[in-house]
Symmetry: C2
C-alpha cells in the first residue's frame, strides 16, 4: 500500500467539478470535424495548451501527413507507466435541425451535458486531464508515470496511426493503456470495463461477366455477375449461419474457462435489445450465455450491400456487365485480416469462383487484453468502490477500432473505461453524457493511478 | 391468283419515295414523349389526320385514361381483314449532346434517316400508311380489309392496353396482325420475320429482419436480410444455370421439329455478339443450335439489382433492417406470369423462406404465332421477292412486349416486320433507319396484302 490518499483526490474532484466542467465545455465549443478538416489546428492547440498550462507538460505535435498527433510525457521516475489514447476530432454534427441545442454550444440540462463530442470523446479526454490535474494538486508527485497520446483522425479511420506506431512506437511503450470509449449499462447501471475489440475487414467482391451492361433478354445466353456473387456468397455461409470457408475459424483463440465466465457474467439486456432492434428473436433463436458468446467471440460475414450498374434496378431490366458486393467481416480474437482474406481467396478458387475479385478496403485487427492483467484488476476494484457495484466486464467489444495498431503491436494491456452511457448518442444528434459519469470517470483514473503500483 | 398487279404498286412506291419520306419526317418533327406527356395530343392529331386525309378513313380517338388509342377501319367488303399495331409515342431523346443532329429535326445522311422515333416506331407506322396509300392509288379497292390501331403509351408499358382490349376487343378482331418492330441482320442482311415474344415478369423479392438498420457489429446476433435473399436466390437457380423451382418449366410448350428447324435456320452472328458484348464465350459455353434454342426458348431468372438501406454500402458497415432484390423473368411460350409467380411462392415456402415477400411489378405474357400460319407464309414469300433472300425467321424474340394482350387474348396470328436494322439505335441517341429499308417495308406490306387472299 502506498501512502497516497485517494479520497482526498475524490474530494478535490467534487469540489472542482464546476472548473472541470468548464474545461470540457471550452473544448466542446471548438468544432473539430476531421471529415471536413474543420477547426483541427485550433483544437490541437487547445489540447496542447491544457496539457501545458494545467499539467505542466511539454506537448509535442507530431506530423504524419494529416492532423498532427499530440504527445506528452509526465515522468515521475515511477516504476510503472500508464498511457491515455484519446482523439480530438469529432463526427460532423449534421443533421443540425435534430439537435435540441446547438452542437457546438455545450449546455447542461437534466443532469447531462449536451454537445457534439461530449461523449465521443472529449468527455473521456478531459476526464483524464482533470483526474491527473486533481492527483497532482493533492499528491504533488504521482505514483506512476503517464503518457498522453492524442489522435486527430480517429473519426476518419486513423489513416496515419500505423505509420505513427512504426515510426514512433518507442514513445508509446508503457505498462497499460486507457483507450477511448467506455460506457455504462442502460439506466446508468453497471460501468463497463472493456478489454478489447473484434477486428474488422471491409472487402469488396466484384465480378465482371461482360464488357458493358446488356438488355436483360440476353440473360438466356450471357452470364450475370450478380448470380455469380450470389452463388459465391451462398458457398461461404449457410442458412444455419455456419461459415463454410475451410480453415476460416481455425485461428480463433478458444475461450478459457475464466473468459467464458466473464462472458456469462456480462450483463446484456435481451428484452431491451429485441425491442430496440424491432426483432422477435435473435439469430438462430439464441439466448442467454450462448447469445453473449456469439456477440463477443463469433466472427461475422455481414453483407452491407450490392452495387450494380445503376440505381434504377427497380425499373430497368438490365443484365449488368459488372457487379459488386460489400462485406464487413468482424474477426474474433486470434483471426487476422490477412489470414481471413487468404482463406476467402482460397475458398473462391476452390469453389470455381476464380473470376471473383477480392479487394480489401480497410481493416483493423482484433485485440484483447488478458482478463488477468493488473490493469484490469485495478480497474475492477476501483469500479466497485466508485460506482458501488460490480463492473460489467466485456471481454471484447463487438465493434472494432484501431487499438490493435498500438496495443497489439506493442503488446500493451489496455482497457476502455469512460464517460458514456447507452443513451449517449455518439455520432448522432443530441450527444450527451451525465455529469455524474464525468465525475466518476475522473475518480476511476485517479483510483487506478493510485492503486496500480501496489498490485 | 387475284388480278392485282403488285409490281405497279412497287413502282408507285419508288416514284413517290420523296413524298412518303416527307410524311414520315413530318411525324418525326412532332415530339411525342409519353414519359413526359410531351406533345401526345398533337401527335395523335397528326396520326388521325394522315389516316383521314391520305387514306380517307374515319379515325376514332378512344380514351382509356391516358393518351387516347386511335382506331380506323378500311372496310373493302373483303373476306380477310388484317390489322396494324403501332404506337405514336417515342422514348425521351436524352442525352441530347450525344446526337449528331437534333432528334426532332429529321435529316437524311449517308442513305439513312436520323431522328428520334424513325425506327421505333414512326418509320414502321408510316411505311404501312404509305403502303396502303400506294395500294389504293393503284388498286382502287384493296383485296383485304384493314384496321389501324395506334397506342400512345407503348414506351411507358401500355398501362391501358388490357383495359382497352377488354372493353373494345371486338374492334380488333381480324385474321392477322402486323405488330410493331421488325429488323434486318447486321450489314443489312436477311430481313427478320418475328413470330412472337417471350413473356416477362418483373418481381421484387423483399425481406425484413429488423425494425431498423443496425450497426453491423450486431451481425453476430441479428439476421441480415441480404443473406436471406442470397440463400433464397441460390435455392432457385444453380451454377449450371438450372432452374431448381419445382414445376417451373413444366408449362413450356415443347418445340416441334419444324420450330426447331426454324431456330436452327435463324441467323445469329455469334462472333459479332461476343465482340459487341465484350465476352469470351456464351453462358455455359453454348454455341450453335443449342445457343439459339436457349435464346428463343429458355426462361431466364435475371437479377437486375439489389436495394438496401442506402447507397453507402461501399463505406458504411451497416446491418440492414430490410432489403430487396429485383428480378426479371423472361418466360418461354406456354408459361404465364401468374403460374411463374405461384411456383416461386411455393418454392420459397417449401425452402423455408416464408418471410420473403414476392411482389409483382409488371408483366407481359409470352406469345407465339404458328410458324405455319398463312400470314407467316405470305410474309416469307414476299420477303424472298423484295429482299432477294431467305428471311430470317425468329420463332419468338427474346425480348417482350404487349402483343399477347391483343393477339394472345383474341387468338390472332401476328408477325413483326419493319424498317429497323441492328444499328438503328432505338431508345438511344442517333436513332436511324435506311431509306431503302423504309422502301422495302412498304413493299412488304403491299405484297402481303396482295398475296394473302390467294393463300
Amino acid at each position: 500500500m502506498n501512502d497516497h490518499d485517494v479520497t482526498a483526490v475524490y474530494r478535490y474532484i467534487d469540489e472542482n467539478m464546476e472548473l472541470y466542467l468548464g474545461w470540457l465545455m471550452e473544448a466542446v465549443r471548438q468544432p473539430s470535424v476531421s471529415m471536413y478538416n474543420a477547426g483541427m489546428g485550433e483544437m490541437a492547440s487547445i489540447c496542447a495548451r491544457f496539457l501545458e498550462d494545467k499539467l505542466g507538460l511539454k506537448a509535442e505535435m507530431i506530423e504524419t501527413g494529416g492532423s498532427p498527433y499530440i504527445y506528452a510525457h509526465l515522468d515521475e521516475g515511477a516504476k510503472d507507466t500508464l498511457a491515455f489514447y484519446n482523439h480530438y476530432d469529432v463526427m460532423p454534427a449534421e443533421p443540425l435541425e435534430e439537435w435540441e441545442s446547438p452542437p457546438f454550444e455545450p449546455v447542461v440540462r437534466d443532469g447531462r451535458l449536451w454537445g457534439r463530442g461530449v461523449a465521443d470523446n472529449k468527455g473521456s479526454m478531459f476526464s483524464r486531464i482533470c483526474a491527473v490535474h486533481a492527483c497532482k494538486q493533492v499528491y504533488g508527485k504521482l505514483p506512476v508515470n503517464l503518457k498522453f497520446f492524442y489522435d486527430g483522425e480517429e473519426e476518419i479511420g486513423s489513416p496515419h496511426l500505423d505509420d505513427f506506431v512504426r515510426a514512433n512506437g518507442g514513445l508509446l511503450k508503457c505498462d497499460g493503456f486507457f483507450w477511448e470509449g467506455g460506457s455504462r449499462d442502460l439506466e446508468r447501471g453497471r460501468p463497463h470495463i472493456t478489454l478489447g475489440v473484434k477486428g474488422i475487414c471491409k472487402i469488396e467482391l466484384s465480378c465482371r461477366t461482360a464488357g458493358r451492361d446488356l438488355h436483360s433478354a440476353n440473360a438466356a445466353i450471357v452470364a450475370n455477375p450478380f448470380w455469380r456473387l450470389v452463388w459465391a456468397l451462398a458457398s461461404m455461409k449457410n442458412e444455419k449461419e455456419e461459415i463454410l470457408i475451410d480453415g476460416y475459424t481455425d485461428d480463433i483463440v478458444p475461450l478459457s474457462d475464466k473468459e467464458r465466465k466473464i462472458i456469462h457474467d456480462m450483463s446484456f439486456d435481451e428484452q431491451a435489445s429485441l425491442k430496440s432492434y424491432g426483432i422477435g428473436s435473435f439469430l438462430n433463436g439464441e439466448r442467454g450465455n450462448s447469445l453473449k458468446e456469439r456477440l463477443v467471440n463469433s466472427p461475422t460475414i455481414n453483407i452491407n450491400g450490392f452495387r450494380g450498374p445503376s440505381n434504377d434496378a427497380e425499373t430497368k431490366t438490365v443484365l449488368p456487365g459488372a457487379a459488386s458486393v460489400f462485406l464487413d467481416l468482424r474477426l474474433a480474437a486470434g483471426q487476422t485480416p490477412e489470414r481471413a482474406l487468404k482463406k476467402i481467396r482460397e475458398h473462391l478458387d476452390a469453389k470455381g469462383f476464380k473470376d471473383i475479385e477480392v479487394k480489401l478496403k480497410s481493416s483493423y485487427e482484433p485485440f484483447r487484453t488478458s482478463c488477468e492483467s493488473t490493469l484490469m484488476r485495478a480497474a475492477a476494484e476501483s469500479a466497485r468502490e466508485i460506482y458501488g457495484m460490480e463492473p460489467n466486464i466485456i471481454l471484447n467489444d463487438w465493434g472494432s477500432s484501431g487499438v490493435c495498431s498500438v496495443c497489439g503491436r506493442l503488446d500493451i494491456p489496455c482497457i476502455m473505461i469512460g464517460v458514456m452511457n447507452e443513451d449517449s448518442r455518439e455520432h448522432a444528434p443530441n450527444e450527451n453524457i451525465y455529469l455524474e459519469d464525468y465525475n466518476c470517470a475522473m475518480k476511476m483514473i485517479a483510483s487506478i493511478i493510485t492503486k496500480l503500483p501496489d498490485m
